[in-house]
């Protein structure tokens, strides 16, 4: 068993990054995730592992520092919160287009605009449906505990390098600010320059040696036919992710007549709502998507025949519900419930909404 600590989600991401052997973190302060940069600066990972930590002058600079470090095959992490992530979008589109690996975490707060600093899940569309320009998909992991905040750093880099793609950890102010027990992994050594050369010399811009052609990191193809071909290549990666990388969790679904679908912090709340419902004899279960892209469409479709109704529970005005509806293809009634703008629904509120919607009281 690894070392046990009581940590905030934001601290867990920072500590997990050091232990993962991450090479660099670039970021810009924004509530409710500033603890990530604060923790790293206090911890001095430069001394622990040689990891670089730099406070950038803006989110624009931060995401482009990420782009640079990723271009030379390094493991690079950044974190921000909603308004900052909006500023990242240009960079994320470039990173996706140029096929670079990196991990980005969004500790979501209420919007739109400057919004609030309280938890929200209103950045689902931005994350899963695009955000930046162009045809790309952002591999998205949705942690629902502090433990997963830590674990998804390693998993995120595994996916990022496997597919050479940006990976988003879509969290929120609740998971970022709360403390829970975390089991920390052993320190992994950072990759040496030689290891990086061996693994990534095919694409990384680490210096043209006489034995190979020059490597170019770019998302530009002035010839549309070549750009279309490049897009086909990207799409093939996204299809492979859909086939092989779906992750989700089921609670009480064996005998469920109704289902709640919820991710991240909302899934924690819904789990309690389900316990309250079960105590009243209502057979309701929970599907928690862990990957939002790729969305667990098939598991959801497989459950559909036994269901009388699905409630998509989100801290938003209803965003993931669109993917839930696509997955079940109108075979069962799907409704949404959620507070938003930084307000958090309670387990009781969710249960009441569920009963009013489906049981009729």
């Amino acid at each position: 068993m690894g070392e046990l600590k009581l940590m905030k989600g934001n601290e867990a991401i920072a500590e997990a990054a050091i232990r993962e052997g991450v090479d660099a973190y670039f970021g810009y302060p924004i509530t409710p995730q500033s603890e990530v940069l604060e923790y790293l600066m206090a911890e001095q990972p430069e001394k622990r592992t040689g990891m670089v930590v730099l406070q950038a002058e803006s989110e624009l600079a931060a995401i482009n520092m990420v782009y640079g470090a990723a271009a030379v095959g390094k493991k690079v992490l950044t974190t921000s919160s909603s308004p900052g992530i909006s500023l990242y979008q240009e960079g994320i589109s470039y990173i996706a287009g140029a096929e670079l690996p990196c991990v980005i975490a969004n500790v979501v707060r209420g919007g739109p605009g400057l919004g609030t600093i309280q938890p929200s899940q209103a950045d689902y569309f931005q994350t899963v449906k695009g955000g930046g320009h162009g045809d790309y998909k952002l591999f998205t992991l949705a942690p629902s505990s502090v433990q997963e905040m830590a674990d998804f750093v390693s998993l995120g880099f595994e996916i990022a390098f496997k597919y050479r793609t940006p990976v988003m950890i879509l969290s929120d102010g609740m998971i970022g600010q709360m403390m829970e027990k975390v089991e920390l992994k052993e320190q992994k050594p950072r990759w040496t320059d030689e290891e990086i050369k061996k693994m990534h010399d095919k694409w990384a811009t680490i210096g043209k040696t006489p034995d190979r052609e020059r490597n170019i990191i770019t998302s530009l193809n002035l010839d549309s036919a070549i750009q279309e071909k490049h897009n086909h290549k990207l799409q093939a990666k996204f299809r492979k992710m859909e086939a092989e990388e779906v992750r989700y969790e089921l609670f009480n679904t064996d005998d469920a007549e109704y289902l709640m679908v919820a991710y991240g912090s909302s899934a924690r709340i819904a789990q309690k709502s389900i316990a309250l419902a079960r105590a009243k004899g209502i057979k309701v279960g929970l599907l928690r998507p862990i990957t939002l892209f790729p969305f667990p469409e098939k598991p959801l479709a497989d459950l559909t025949p036994q269901l009388k109704g699905i409630l998509s529970v989100e801290l938003s005005a209803g965003q993931m519900i669109e993917d839930v509806k696509l997955a079940v293809q109108c075979k069962v009634r799907v409704e949404h419930y959620g507070r938003f703008g930084g307000m958090i629904h309670s387990p009781e509120e969710v249960l009441t909404a569920f009963e009013q919607t489906f049981i009729g009281k």
Partner: protein, 260 residues
């Protein structure tokens, strides 16, 4: 006399650096970019650091610099080259990292990245091509378009009241403690080319010695954007740009050069 008899080692006065690719330059005839590319590549070749050099191409005419420079290159989002260079240099300090940016990229949309990279004293080299116009998009006004200069978005000439002042960003970054060497040169005649090359050599030497950031502005032309034939464009540049953007060293060894 056969060709092979003429091309002999002892008769060789100029040889194209192998660090320029065989691709035909996409720049307009008479444009300074080709010469500026060659200078940078010659310096890298002469220092023998091709294996360890990473260039950052901007958005603008030189967006395709990676087609012509035979080294590993990263194409950056508009204005963000100094941030990209920071990401590379910080994580791989042994590499030589330079950005190659135009005036719109460096002095308009990327002003924040330029100033902060310079102010942090990132140990990188910035090559700044200033031709006072947006060439790639068809000749719009740039942050360095001088007063009265006509562009497609200042068709009656730059009106300072209406459009603001041209930005001397090179003098500005020279004020920052993070810059070690700041100079302005040009590539319009052989003497100027030699001076520019010496400055670029010095800039890369500074990076090698980890002394800080070196910033070289190259005042250049844009025949197409200025709507002048190459020779006249260079004349116009000397007569009109140089008074506002005077060539010479601005900061040497971390000290501002005193003007007489």
């Amino acid at each position: 006399m056969k060709l092979q008899e003429i091309i002999k080692e002892e008769n060789l006065v100029y040889k194209r650096t192998p660090l320029m690719t065989d691709n035909v330059l996409s720049y307009c005839p008479g444009c300074g970019h080709g010469t500026a590319h060659r200078i940078v590549m010659e310096v890298i070749e002469e220092m023998g650091v091709q294996d360890d050099t990473i260039g950052i191409a901007p958005v603008g005419c030189s967006v395709l610099a990676y087609d012509f420079m035979n080294i590993d290159m990263v194409q950056a989002a508009h204005g963000r080259a100094p941030a990209v260079a920071t990401g590379i240099k910080r994580t791989w300090p042994d590499k030589f990292v330079f950005t190659y940016q135009g005036d719109g990229d460096l002095a308009a949309i990327g002003t924040a990245e330029t100033i902060h990279a310079c102010n942090r004293g990132e140990n990188i080299t910035i090559i700044f091509i200033n031709n006072g116009i947006y060439g790639m998009t068809g000749g719009q006004m740039a942050p360095t378009t001088i007063e009265g200069m006509k562009t497609s978005t200042s068709p009656y000439g730059r009106d300072l009241q209406l459009m603001g002042n041209p930005l001397k960003i090179t003098e500005l970054v020279a004020q920052l403690p993070g810059t070690y060497f700041v100079a302005r040169h040009s590539v319009h005649n052989p003497a100027a080319v030699r001076k520019t090359k010496r400055a670029v050599q010095k800039a890369f030497q500074i990076q090698k010695e980890r002394k800080g950031l070196a910033f070289i502005e190259i005042v250049s032309n844009c025949n197409s954007g200025w709507k002048l034939p190459p020779v006249k464009a260079n004349q116009w540049m000397v007569e009109n740009m140089f008074p506002f953007f005077p060539p010479g060293d601005i900061k040497v060894d971390g000290e501002l050069v005193k003007k007489e």
